[in-house]
């Protein structure tokens, strides 16, 4: 790629190279604020005279609302407002892809925990007590909870009158979207197979469980609008959905990003934004709203639980002949991003392998289960869990080494995807597997090794339940493929406004975008890119808000690529303008201004030969240059609705894992000893945060493998474990060391060659852990998470 970091000009000695540019491990600019407790997260907002908002949620999953009586709640002292759907000022529904989600339920509730009424009061406890006094009468309806109940010919429809654009293409109105992919002839190719392996897999419902709860502050403004401070992944998408529900033009809804305590897809959909705004407008008071953890489990969409049915065939020499699969994703009561998740699951269902003959079908259901939508890995995670289990099964049946079998079938640059799209950048699948395999194994039975003998190293740790009698070790491998950025013809772009000026005798660049810093380190790399492109040391990152164009979502691994690209683009134009000013002022003094390639380095204008012409300060003096530009990745297209063919994806990311586990077969306890990852990151803009992202993603995959699941009662569709007591997350004791080995094989089409990083490690870590547990125990284990009873057969 052009425009990457340039070398140090030979004859410039003094601070020539800009420090802290692309490729260096830089520390977070918000680090100090975050370690001192001063960083203002969305739940930290405070305003004089603010009052508190509280939601009342449905206690049943599927019912007609017969009546709502708010009289007792209103009468409570300290209560400012009690609202139901009848009190909403304008549009009653919102939604990212299709507006089917009620702000407050009206007519019907479709899932447990759906918002039904709203309270504003002077103290959060007053608000809670008032909410508890609202009386709702429900007439319960049968619940739809799985594929069979959803697609039965006489099934009650979750949405009676669908008006979305998928409605006409689906075989049943309780199917949100269906994406088949047919390529080659799987039935014919199956005849060449020496072995055929079938499998059924179940992937549990995972929660993003970001630590910072849904929260924010809505402040009514004098012009009748509202100023909203919230934590979200995409300000402009929120704005588009909020304004119609408030009955306000978008200019009157001014959004500012508040500090975000993690997101992982769970902040893509609206949560409390509209609710707090409605209350603020209604009461003319600033309204703060903070979900507690119980509410948070109801307040955002989850990862789609899935059933996956796979068939693979292979010849004796280890070549895969064909693949057939059906993937059923449970989208829950509202659409959210289910159609896109279906597209992803379907188009990535083969995994990173060369399979010419495939028959694929993915569907997303409407049910009365909790709504599901975006979560790190977005549809690719569920598929990876199943196809990687299949790879091990086929290899075992052939008597082949599972890694060698994968490598033999691994895709590479040029491989054609089942959608007909060739992979046109590096795809080092075999190499990533080689790297994790080549790593020396951690020592066995560490709890009894003379050095550092420690029961804490045992499965079960300090509980002192075993001394290692029934403990066996297993090793497992997995690899995955994830698309990066928004696919299927989505107009995906980002905007950046860059300003350069002299402040206190120094050239300073300001980067203003609407990009969400969810913890991934965007703010760090935005400054790095500006330093590299503009040769300045000082970069200010302006707060993200809706005063600048959309940055798109901080999701799909796209933000470094997209907003990074927008910053780079804008900086390039700023640089041209700066040089133009320089040419105007100093062009007559030195011929280089006219005929040399000029660079900005270390606060100076330098020729490509390294000669310093002048400083940025002298060029700019009291002028400022400001540019706001967009960046788009190359266009994609929708998949054909019958054949699934189409150039749907922009870029792919690849990661491989090796898991080493020790399992206590008597107690059914698993201890993951090590979870090594190798990933191609294209270009590590900030190596420190690259590793942090890979380790974090790996840990979320580990969580699904052995403990994380939202349990929904199949009879009532009620959530059984909406708390951190009952929804288990990996602690520091459950998480092993995660050695990371990254490759930098540049994507020639991406800025600096970057490849999305955050999502891929979430894919392969789950199947790697499962494979390791299977190798330790010899059990089938076709479901996540693996629980003690699955291991002990009780």
């Amino acid at each position: 790629m052009a425009g990457t970091t340039t070398g140090i000009p030979a004859n410039v000695t003094q601070g020539a190279r800009t420090k802290g540019g692309v490729g260096e491990s830089m520390l977070r600019p918000d680090g100090t604020l975050k370690v001192t407790g001063e960083f203002a997260y969305s739940s930290d907002m405070w305003h004089e005279e603010m009052i508190w908002g509280q939601v009342l949620r449905s206690t049943v999953a599927h019912a007609e609302i017969v009546s709502i009586d708010t009289s007792e709640a209103v009468a409570l002292s300290g209560v400012y407002a009690v609202l139901t759907a009848d009190d909403l000022p304008a549009a009653k529904n919102y939604g990212m892809e299709y507006q089917d989600t009620p702000v407050l339920a009206y007519g019907k509730v479709r899932h447990h925990g759906e918002p039904v009424a709203l309270v504003a009061a002077d103290h959060p406890e007053t608000a809670r007590r008032a909410a508890a006094k609202i009386k709702i009468e429900y007439r319960e309806l049968p619940v739809i909870t799985d594929e069979a109940s959803a697609t039965a010919p006489d099934a009650i429809l979750v949405h009676e009158n669908r008006g979305d654009h998928h409605a006409g293409h689906v075989p049943h109105p309780n199917i949100v979207h269906r994406q088949p992919i047919i390529r080659g002839n799987a039935a014919e190719a199956a005849k060449k197979a020496d072995v055929i392996v079938k499998g059924e897999y179940t992937f549990g419902m995972q929660d993003q469980a970001f630590l910072g709860p849904e929260s924010g502050l809505a402040v009514p403004s004098e012009d009748g609008g509202v100023d909203l401070y919230v934590a979200t992944q995409w300000l402009h998408s929120d704005l588009k959905q909020i304004a119609p529900c408030l009955g306000l033009p978008e200019e009157k809804v001014r959004m500012t990003m508040a500090g975000i305590g993690g997101a992982f897809g769970g902040r893509e959909d609206i949560s409390m934004q509209i609710l707090a705004s409605v209350l603020a407008l209604r009461t003319s008071k600033p309204v703060k709203m903070v979900y507690n953890r119980y509410e948070s489990f109801f307040g955002h969409v989850h990862r789609h639980p899935a059933k996956l049915y796979y068939e693979h065939g292979a010849t004796k020499d280890g070549k895969i002949t064909h693949m057939k699969c059906k993937i059923v994703l449970d989208g829950g009561a509202y659409m959210s991003s289910t159609p896109s998740v279906v597209g992803n699951a379907s188009s990535l269902s083969v995994g990173p392998y060369v399979i010419d003959d495939v028959e694929i079908e993915a569907i997303g259901l409407y049910t009365n289960n909790p709504p599901c939508g975006a979560m790190r890995g977005f549809g690719a995670v569920q598929a990876c869990f199943a196809y990687e289990a299949q790879m091990d099964k086929v290899a075992a049946k052939l008597g082949m080494d599972p890694v060698a079998f994968r490598q033999k079938n691994a895709m590479e640059q040029g491989t054609v995807m089942p959608t007909g799209q060739p992979v046109d950048s590096p795809a080092p699948v075999a190499e990533l597997l080689r790297r994790v395999k080549a790593r020396p194994l951690p020592p066995v039975r560490q709890w009894e090794s003379s050095e550092g003998a420690d029961v804490r190293a045992l499965p079960g740790g300090l509980s002192n339940t075993t001394h290692g009698e029934g403990v066996v070790r297993g090793v497992g491998y997995a690899v995955g493929i994830k698309n990066v950025g928004f696919s299927e013809g989505f107009d995906d772009y980002s905007t950046a406004k860059i300003r350069i000026e002299v402040i206190n005798g120094e050239a300073v660049a300001t980067v203003h975008t609407a990009a969400a810093e969810v913890g991934q380190g965007g703010v760090t790399i935005h400054a790095q890119i500006a330093r590299t492109e503009l040769g300045v040391q000082q970069v200010t990152i302006a707060p993200a808000d809706t005063q600048v164009g959309s940055a798109g979502s901080t999701s799909a691994g796209r933000q470094t690529y997209m907003t990074g690209g927008a910053i780079k683009n804008s900086c390039e134009i700023v640089r041209e303008k700066v040089l133009e000013i320089g040419r105007r002022k100093f062009g007559s003094y030195h011929p280089a201004w006219a005929n040399a390639e000029l660079l900005l380095e270390g606060g100076k204008v330098v020729t490509d030969g390294g000669e310093v012409l002048t400083t940025l300060v002298e060029v700019l003096e009291d002028e400022a240059v400001e540019v706001e530009e967009e960046f788009r990745h190359r266009p994609t297209e929708a998949f054909d609705l019958r054949t699934g063919q189409g150039n749907g994806h922009v870029q792919y990311a690849f990661a491989a894992h090796r898991a080493v586990v020790e399992v206590d077969t008597e107690l059914g306890l698993v201890k993951v000893i090590e979870l090594a990852c190798a990933q191609d990151v294209g270009k590590a803009v900030n190596p420190l945060s690259v590793i942090g992202q890979i380790q974090g993603g790996t840990t979320q995959g580990l969580g699904v493998a052995v403990m994380e699941e939202i349990i929904v009662d199949p009879k009532t569709a009620k959530v059984r474990n909406p708390s951190f007591t009952d929804y288990l997350l990996p602690t520091i004791l459950d998480t092993p060391t995660i050695p990371v080995d990254y490759l930098e094989l540049a994507d020639p089409n991406a800025p600096y060659g970057v490849r999305g990083i955050g999502e891929a490690p979430t894919l392969s870590s789950t199947p790697a852990v499962l494979a390791a547990i299977r190798s330790a125990t010899g059990l089938e284990l076709n479901k996540t998470p693996v629980r003690p009873e699955h291991l002990t057969g009780t």
Partner: protein, 197 residues
């Protein structure tokens, strides 16, 4: 009710406290000290960890009335606490009133956009600096609780093994980092502490 207690070396008085209010709520919403975080409010995540008379506790599980007459240290007071660790009453070294957050400062805490450029030049405790240097902060929501817990560990044990660190921090969830860099940070702070001695 009224509650009198010391926060980060400063005498504080909270009025009109409801009987059900937690120490966490009083700190965050009444004292203007939002550094301690509210991730679960049921003692499961450790984001709200503070020291109560020196002992790390989940402030979401402590009723405000229980802290009457006692000393609380939050992440906001961590640097000062670390500096005065050798004193008989660390965190009490602030009789001058030069540290801690006054109620007036608290009132001035307003909704403001995230500004990544401030906070420079703040005095940090070794564990705070190590968290930044090791890349142990991502979204940072878990960070205040982890810092308070890790600082207490290092006070007790200046050369903790990895198993010791894991044990001490096992009550603090982090959803972003995968913990590896948090371990790095504690090791780094311990090593730096060793060099000074």
């Amino acid at each position: 009710m009224r509650v009198n207690f010391t926060v980060n070396g400063r005498k504080q008085e909270a009025d009109d406290v409801w009987e059900g209010e937690s120490l966490l709520y009083v700190l965050r919403e009444r004292m203007g000290l939002p550094g301690s975080k509210n991730a679960c409010e049921q003692g499961e995540c450790g984001s709200c960890t503070v020291r109560l008379d020196g002992v790390p506790v989940c402030s979401c599980l402590v009723a405000a009335g229980q802290v009457e007459g006692r000393e609380v240290t939050t992440v906001e007071g961590l640097a000062d606490y670390a500096k005065h660790r050798q004193d008989a009453h660390p965190g009490g070294g602030c009789a001058t009133g030069a540290c801690g957050t006054s109620l007036q400062d608290a009132q001035q805490w307003k909704a403001k956009g995230q500004d990544s450029q401030t906070g420079e030049g703040a005095e940090l405790s070794p564990i705070q600096q190590a968290f930044i240097d090791a890349g142990a902060v991502q979204c940072g929501f878990c960070t205040p609780g982890l810092l308070v817990a890790a600082d207490e560990l290092l006070e007790r044990n200046d050369m903790p093994s990895d198993a010791d660190i894991r044990e001490a921090l096992s009550g603090n969830l982090c959803r972003c980092t995968g913990y590896e860099k948090i371990l790095d940070a504690v090791r780094l702070a311990a090593a730096r502490q060793g060099e000074v001695v």
